[in-house]
Each structure stands twice: as structure tokens, then as C-alpha cells.
Symmetry: C2
DNA sequence: GCCAGTCTGTCAGTCACTGCCAACCTGTCT
DNA sequence: AGACAGGTTGGCAGTGACTGACAGACTGGC
């Protein structure tokens, strides 16, 4: 949470934001597949090479910020006091993410719909989420009173994967309902069906 | 389970198997990323174009048969008698898949390790699994006594996603243990931690 | 043998992505 | 002001996955 130090850093942030905005606009106009990186670069006013320097892959134009959110999630869960149950700690982590995201719900919905509609994007998204799960393992193991071995514990992995699965189900349904449903409620329903 | 009808069909199957075998061998030798489709085609004795006609993508050389297994899973779950609980029905589906796969455990381990070690393959694999989940939704909804609406039910999705999550955790741990662990046991542990 | 339909190989092309190098911009030291 | 060092950008050529189009080969039915 450090203030954007140098002026140079801020202009860089502006360039990144500009590229993402033009990319999302183009994806909305023509669809993800039909849009080329050359188009994005040209309309954003930078070289194609620079777009790849900033984002690495076309998919990261959409899924890029997931990276940072993962760290937020892990530290939020780790920061929960020990008397909070594992399930509540994980839920708290996800609510933290929701409030930490500085996007309008419309924007979140737009991006989510893009991801859910596009197999290649969806695949990449799932894989990134799996990294979140991996980095959560030690945190949850400690919370469940399990010694962290070199290989993760099946119980910890199961709990983490289940919470993610329910979050995922809730997100997908939220998108399918056009953002009109209560995602939190859907999550509770899904988890209750599992644990009840 | 129909007998491979025409001779032509059988030789076609042989070609497909030959391509997969050479591909896996090359991946084992040089790694997945470092192996080009041109190499696979050349060593398999077919044109590069034909490889793409059979498999569509490089990833499908490894994940291709997942497709068929998904249908086996769905029909196996649907075939469970109604008095079997939802959880048991899903577990039965997965054990059916395990026995239906006509590969040696070594082969399964080799393929699984390839998938888990390779982000691009892993991503594609997860996305395919998600399609299994989608096609299971109506089956599970009926079993849980839920009317199938146009949008899936959160409870059904949660249960399905959870079982898959635990299967996934168990598979990954099984691979991390070099195939020496009991995958079934790991699955039970993970699910017990969730439902207990 | 002949014809229709299917399968295969070849070729050229698109697009994501990368390494390389020259130009450039920015702050610093003298 | 001018030289210098660091990092940044753009252009360019290349690789590799993947696709469409076309021509030849191969198959089964007549």
C-alpha cells in the first residue's frame, strides 16, 4: 500500500491503464479472438513490443491484475486471528479482495464475462487461481494445526480447493445472472450444500 | 464399448496411437515446450497438417482422451440408482473412470506429471474438467431433487465443484508422491476434512 | 474401370511471442 | 554545458502454433 513514489512510476501506471482500457474496448467491439495485439498497440499509441513487455501475453491483458490480488488474499487470510475458523478466515480473505478491487461492479462484470466466455482466457484464469491455492496451503495448514511437510496435506488442500470451488460457482452464476444476483448469497448456498 | 468396426477405422486408431506415443516420447526426452509439432509429425511419419487434423492443438496430444472420459463419467453417475447418495454417486463415477482407462498406472503417472508440471497443459486440463462439471449439473440437480432451471443451481454446482476439487487435490498429491500413495485414501481424507 | 466422397500432403499465410540492436530519454557528475 | 551510465522504447527479423485452400491419392460402390 505504498504511495506511487516517482512521477515516472505514475506515468507508467497510466500507460498500463491506457493499454488495458483500449484492449477491453476492442475486445468488447470485436471479441477477444478477433482482436490482434497489433490493433491494441496501435490504438493505444505504443509499439507492439512494449505491450508484450508490459503484459507478456494477450491473456494477461485481461487476467493480469489477478496476480496482485492473490497476494492480498493470502495475507488477508494469514492476518485473521487464530480463533476464527478456517472457513471464516478464507471467506474473510475473499471479502477483502472484493473490497480491495478498485473497479466498478460493471467493470468486474465485463471482465468476468469475458473470461467465462473465452476458453483460452478461462483456462489461464483457472491456472492462476491454482497458484493462489498453492500459496494458501501453508497458511491453512498452520491454522488447522498440521505440520507443514514437503508435500501439502490432503485435508488442507481439500478445504482450500472447496472454498475456491464454491467461490467459482458463485462467480459464474453471478455472471450468468448479469450481475443481478447476490454473489455472497450464492456462495453461502453452495457451501451450505457441501457442508450441510 | 463397440467393436472397432471397419478395418479403416482400426488403422486410423493405430495412427492416432502412434502419434500420441511418439509425442509423449519426445516430451519425455526434451520436455513439452522444447518439442515442436514438426518434430512430432516427422518422427511419427505423417504430415504436420495431419497431426493438427487429428488433434487440433498441441495440448490435445496430451489431454485429448480426457474428452471421452468425461462422457463416461457423466453416464456412470447418471446410472447410479437413486437411493445412492449424491456423494457416493459421484465417487462411483470417478472409480468407473479409473477402471475404464486402459492405461498402465505408469502411463497415467507419466501423463499426469506432464500436465501438472506444465502451466499451459494444466490450464487446458482444468478447463476441460470444467466442461465435465457443467454436463454433470443436470444429473446432480435431478438427484438432489432440484428443478433444472435455465441457470444452474448453486447447491448442485457447489457439490460437484467440491468433489472435483478433492479429486484434483488427491491426484496432485498422488503425482507428487510419485504414484506411491493411495489416491483413493487421499481423496477420502480431503473430503472428510471438508464435510467433517 | 469409373465415379463420388474422403483423406492426405504441400504451401502460403496469420498471429502470438521473443531476441537483438539502435535510438532515446533521464538524472548525475564534472 | 557536456560527457556518461541506466534503463526504456521501437523496429525488425525470426520461431512456432495453427488455418485455409488446393491438388493428388485412396476408398467403396457401380
Amino acid at each position: 500500500m505504498e504511495k506511487s513514489s516517482t512521477l515516472w512510476d505514475r506515468s507508467r501506471q497510466a500507460v498500463v491503464a491506457e493499454i488495458v482500457d483500449t484492449a477491453l474496448a476492442l475486445f468488447a467491439e470485436q471479441g477477444y479472438e478477433a482482436t490482434t495485439m497489433a490493433q491494441v498497440a496501435k490504438r493505444a499509441g505504443v509499439s507492439q513490443r512494449s505491450v508484450f513487455r508490459y503484459f507478456g501475453t494477450k491473456e494477461d491483458l485481461v487476467c493480469g491484475e489477478q496476480e496482485a490480488l492473490g497476494e492480498v488474499l493470502v495475507s488477508a487470510v494469514a492476518a485473521q486471528p487464530p480463533e476464527v475458523s478456517t472457513w471464516d478466515a478464507l471467506r474473510a480473505g475473499f471479502t477483502t479482495i472484493l473490497t480491495a478491487s478498485n473497479h466498478t461492479p460493471q467493470r468486474v462484470l465485463e471482465i468476468s464475462a469475458l473470461i467465462f466466455d473465452n476458453p483460452s482466457l478461462h483456462a489461464r484464469y483457472l491456472e492462476k487461481r491454482l497458484r493462489w491455492q498453492r500459496s494458501l496451503v501453508p497458511v491453512i495448514e498452520k491454522r488447522m494445526g498440521i505440520d507443514s511437510g514437503e508435500v501439502p496435506d490432503a485435508r488442507a488442500m481439500g478445504v482450500i480447493a472447496t472454498v475456491f470451488a464454491c467461490v467459482d460457482a458463485a462467480s459464474e452464476l453471478w455472471v450468468r445472472h448479469g450481475g443481478k444476483a447476490d454473489a455472497f448469497e450464492l456462495y453461502e448456498q453452495a457451501l451450505a450444500a457441501v457442508r450441510g
